[in-house]
Structures are given as C-alpha cells and as structure tokens.
Symmetry: C2
Subunit: 347 residues, 2 copies
DNA sequence: TTCATCGTTGAAAGCGCTTACATCCGAGAT
DNA sequence: ATCTCGGATGTAAGCGCTTTCAACGATGAA
C-alpha cells in the first residue's frame, strides 16, 4: 500500500479521492478508474465492490484532475453581451439544456462591464473545450479572432465567415416579408429603425427591408441609425411627434424599440396603426399584451442556442459537420399594429 | 534541460505550456510560475524576460492544472430553475458581474429538464469552489442538503436555515404594504393568487397579505393556489369571469400572473381597476407598458445576485461574514391598476 | 504434466502547474 | 582575505486522475 495521506473522513464527500475508494474496495486506483469509466476488462466482482465503495463514499472524481489527465474539460464556454430581454435568456436556455444533454457543463461569461474582454475570454478558454459567442458588435471581432485557431469557436447570429462556424436565424427573408406586409397595407413612407452597423442581424434585416422596396419598385429610405433600447425608442418617437421625421410606418429592428416608440407615440396623441403602423422583431412577451398587439417576427431563439451547443460539440469531438452556416427559420406573427384588424392570426 | 516533449508551435496558443515559456525565457518553470503569480523574490531581469516570453506565446495557464495544484477552482457554481422572465436573468447578471469582479468564473446550471438533479449538482460541485442555488421548490431541499457540508452553499431567496447562508429580498413587509395600499382603496374582497407552498417567496408574501388584513381588522381569504405562469393567470381570470370566484382586488404573487389575469379580464369585459384592482410583483418591463400600468413591488434582483456571489466568496475564502440571512429591501411602485389615478408616482 | 493464452490487475508514468526546499552566489562584516 | 547571510533560482515532490505496460494467475490444449 502506498504511503499516501488519506482522507480523514471528517468531511463527508469533499476529500474523498480515488485512493479512498480504492482502499475501501481493496483494489488499486487503476481498477477504480476503470470501472468508473465503464472501461473494458474488469471482473464483475471488483466492479461491484468498487461501485459499492464509491457509492458509500459519495465519490465523484474531481473535474480538474480528470481534465488534466484526459486533456479536455467537458465544458462549453458561452459569451453573451448581457442578459436583459428575453432574447439572450432564451438563447442561454437552449444552449445550456443541449449542452447538458451532451454531458457538458457550461461556463458563462457576460461581456458587458468587462474592461479587458479578450483577456477575460482567453482566460475562459483555459477551462472549456470550445467557445460559443454572440456575433454582435458588443463582442469585437478581435476577440473571436483571438480565440479561433486555438479552440473551436462558433458564432451565434454572427457574420458568415468562411473560417468560422456560424449559427444564425433567418433575417433577410423575414425582413422582406414583414416589410412587404406593411407595404401591402398601402404604406408608402416607411422607415427602418436600427443601425445596420451594429451587427449582422440588423444589417441583414435592413437588407430585407430594402429588398422588399425593390420588389415593389419603391425606393427604401435610409435607416434611422439608433440603438435598440427603450430610451432610443422614446427619442425616435419624439422626433416623429415633432415632425423632424415623417413616416406612416415603422419597421423596428427589435420589439423593445417598437414598443417604446409605440407607447410614446400614443402618449403624444398618435394612433397606431391608423396614423402610423409599427412592427418589430423577436416577439417578446409584451408584444402580445399591448394594445394594439405588436406585429413582429418570431425567432426560435431556443433552438438557436441548442444548435450552437450542438455545432460546438461536433467541432470539439471532431464529428462530421455540415459546412455552411446553419440558419434557423423564423416566422411572422401578425397582430394589429401593422394595420391588420384585431384578432389577426399568425401565419 | 528536461527531456520533455515540447509544444510544436503549430497551434498558436493551445499547447503552449509553462515549459515553453520557461524555455523561451531561459529560466526554470518555477520562475515562470513565480512571476505569473506575482510572487515574491524574482529579480527584475527575469521578471521582464518571462513576461515578454509569456506575452509572445500568448500563454495562459491551464485552469485545470492550476486548480489541481492549488486545490481550488476560482469558479462559482450557480443553479437556477430556469431563465424565463426577467427575474432570473437579472439575478444571473448580478451574480456574474460580481463574480467576475472577484476573479471567479461562473458555471451555470439550469434545473429544468434535469432528470437527476442531485447527481448533476454533485457533478457541478466538482468544478467549483462553492454553489449558489435558488431556494425554490424547483430545487428540492435534498439537493442543497446533499451539497452542504462538502462545499460552501448559499441559498438565494430561500428559507432562512440556521445552518445555511441565505440572501433574500424582503417579502413580508412589502406584501403587507401593497396589500394595505389596496385595502386603502376601500377594497374588501381581495384575493391572493399564488401558492405559498411553492417556495419561501410566495409563502412570505402571503404572510404579509394576511398581516395587512389583520392590521385592518379584516380577515384574509385563503390563497388561490396556482402556479405563476400566464396560463394559470388566464385560468384564474376565467374563474373570476364565470363567477366561480368573486373579488374586487387581486394581489398576485408575480407580474406574469397579474398581467395575464388583467388581459383576460379585460377581454371578458371587466374594467381594471374599476371592477377589480390588480397588483403584482417584480416590476417586469411589461408592467409599465400595459394600460392601466401595473402597480407592483420592485425587487433589486441584480443586487440580490451580487450579494449571493459576495457571500459565497466570503465563505470560500473564509472571510468574516455577518451571520443572519441577508435581506435586500424592495420598493412599491404605484401605477394605476390598483385604483390610483394614472400618472401615479412610485414612492 | 507442461506450455501457451487470455482475461485481470497493479505499478508507474505522466497531464501542467505550484511550492517547499536546497543550492548557489555575491555583498557586507570581521 | 574569510565567513556569514540573504536574495535569486532551480530541483523535485506532489495535486487526483487516466492509461500503458508488464506481471500474474487460471484455464485449456497438447
């Protein structure tokens, strides 16, 4: 027997190592490891003894030690800009649950407030087998490029780069659809709210907006370049109210913005959709609670997250992977803020 | 020189170990480790050489190896039931950002959908220094008890147990305040919606509800024991509409419920607050968008999360800690669903 | 009875890092 | 010039686990 200090037994589960289990079962640590890994070649007898011992001691192998030995972590990293609103939460839920199914832990990091992001990400990378990150402007390209090459990386809702895996939801098509829908209501002075430069999502949505106009032989207005928060929406509404900006319809790059505009506009005496139609993106909870209900594009964000976890895992394990970016379809949900009669059905 | 296989240099940052750095700097790995730990006793000269080498190689120590050597992980575990709605997201944001400030990674786990939760948690525990978990019924007591004793555990919004650290937001007092407020509007048939058995939060809120009645020499109705989701709210509204239940005011255990009830009631022709007053809990985004605005209790959830991270870290490092459960104050935000005139101010 | 074979098992070598501990060397004291 | 002391550095022993490799019976064949 090796003259090795052994757990005192004072602490229940912490401090119990593979040595304790081996001792208790009367076998070598190699055997313990073997049965716990479900490995080959262990007699049924020792199998049982070890299992019993492990069970009594509530033994769970220390992740760090295992990682060191097997040279991977059984963990996925996820970096998101922040977590307000339903979008990222849903994404995270999808990601976590799929990762868990794959036996992977997830270590999460929020970019917001980190002063040295690439340092933080690089540090995160030392404890996971691969990274999924959101491809928005909140996470600079340099950050992802810095990681790529050393560990598998998948970009969520990011730009399709030939060298990096991407999962994204369909944007241009649904943008074209929702814009056409608005145009179909006879609106002719329609504005797009959101900054195409803020990320691929918004950029593609604006592209769809333009495409819809072209399809109708109309010319699309320049985007109103603002951020997507409530405060920006209020500001936009004020410009509309003051006549600084004119429009009979507004395609907003997300619901938060759309909702904020709508509220302020109504406070200012405008009526939606009669005076101005408004549509958004995401189908947040509030969208179906406001009056009129907000017409919007629903993204299966949860699936997006799950896809990201899947793709990442495939890259890590070296499984065969389809090549192009994976795109998840979206759907239009029609309510009445676009000009449709109330009780409109989603289609 | 040790006859040790050294990184090939083919992969940029992965594969660079402390050995590569040492070699490049022309020093021993001990020295490298020393300067990277900011340890004592390194000459300025080697310091610089090592720093330079590490920088060129983009070296970051492998977390697992370090963990194994120093016997801790520099990571906090967090287990939440799920992530829908703003409550958990906010909590998570607060937790993550404080943890990051403390130099801790956070590994997240969602209870929802895990078939063997205690196994999952026990596994999680092998890669973190301590665990924070939400003290709701979604996470059975057995789970937390299983961990407690082996690693530091802090319960969020859980029952104050003498043996376990708890951070929680104030419930009973604000419940009493909001209930009194409703009573103050002359309502006499007020119902509480939510199941006190579903967790300490709801239980304490109901306690406050009762206390408010007692203070007014009224007798409090039994709680309407339902879950806190939209669907439950709709069902409740239907019972109200059908006359199965009668009330002139409703204190809901969260906003999601309140909002759902309110919407359905109005669809059914009731007017809020004239026919029935409704108040909720959490101050979600929708609460200020609906008509009438929802009177509710705002919890500083983010702070709650940060507190949890703090407390956990104190326990892990063995820092001195105040003893009782830490409770975060809440505030009433008065809008008009309670019967106050529109443009009510929060107080 | 002897030998080859195969299934089981343990010894031991790492995985990459930290950290006593020993060693070395130059500076100040005598 | 010799001795002592202390700062800087290297050596090596782990941290807890996996996994190769060799050793060990026991078994069936010859």
């Amino acid at each position: 027997m090796k003259g090795r200090p052994v757990a005192t037994g004072s602490t229940p589960s912490s401090g119990t190592t593979i040595y304790s289990v081996a001792e208790r079962a009367g076998v070598s640590i190699a055997s313990v490891s073997r049965v716990l890994q479900g490995s080959t070649a262990v007699s049924e007898k020792t199998r049982l003894r070890v299992l019993a011992a492990a069970d009594e001691l509530k033994y769970v192998p220390l992740a760090a030690a295992r990682s060191l030995a097997v040279r991977h972590h059984e963990a996925h990293g996820l970096v998101l800009p922040e977590l307000s609103g339903p979008y990222y939460s849903e994404l995270l839920m999808g990601f976590e649950s799929r990762a868990a199914e794959l036996g992977q832990s997830v270590v999460l990091m929020l970019a917001e407030g980190k002063s040295d992001l690439v340092r933080a990400v690089r540090n995160l990378a030392t404890r996971v087998d691969g990274l999924a990150m959101l491809g928005s402007s909140a996470i600079p390209d340099a950050t992802v490029t810095a990681m790529h090459g050393s560990k598998p990386v998948v970009l969520i809702a990011g730009d399709a780069r030939p060298d990096i895996d991407t999962v994204t939801s369909e944007n241009t098509g649904s943008a074209e659809a929702i814009t056409s829908h608005v145009l179909g209501h006879g609106r002719r002075r329609v504005l797009f709210a959101g900054d195409p430069a803020s990320g691929p999502d918004v950029r593609d949505r604006y592209a769809g907006f333009v495409a819809a106009h072209e399809a109708a032989h109309l010319s699309a207005a320049e985007p109103v370049r603002i951020a997507l928060r409530e405060i920006d929406g209020r500001a936009l509404a004020d410009r509309l109210l003051s006549g600084d900006l004119r429009a009979d319809a507004l395609v907003c790059a997300n619901d938060e913005l759309a909702l904020a505009v709508m509220k302020r506009l109504r406070e200012g005496g405008q009526v939606v959709p009669d005076d101005i139609a408004i549509v958004g993106w995401d189908d947040v909870m509030t969208a179906r609670y406001v009056e009129p209900g907000l017409t919007t594009v629903r993204q299966p964000v949860r699936e997006l997250g799950a896809s990201a976890a899947d793709r990442l895992h495939q890259r890590i394990t070296g499984a065969p992977v389809g090549d192009g970016p994976q795109v998840i379809p979206t759907s239009l949900v029609i309510r009445s803020s676009c000009g449709c009669p109330p009780e409109g059905v989603s289609r």
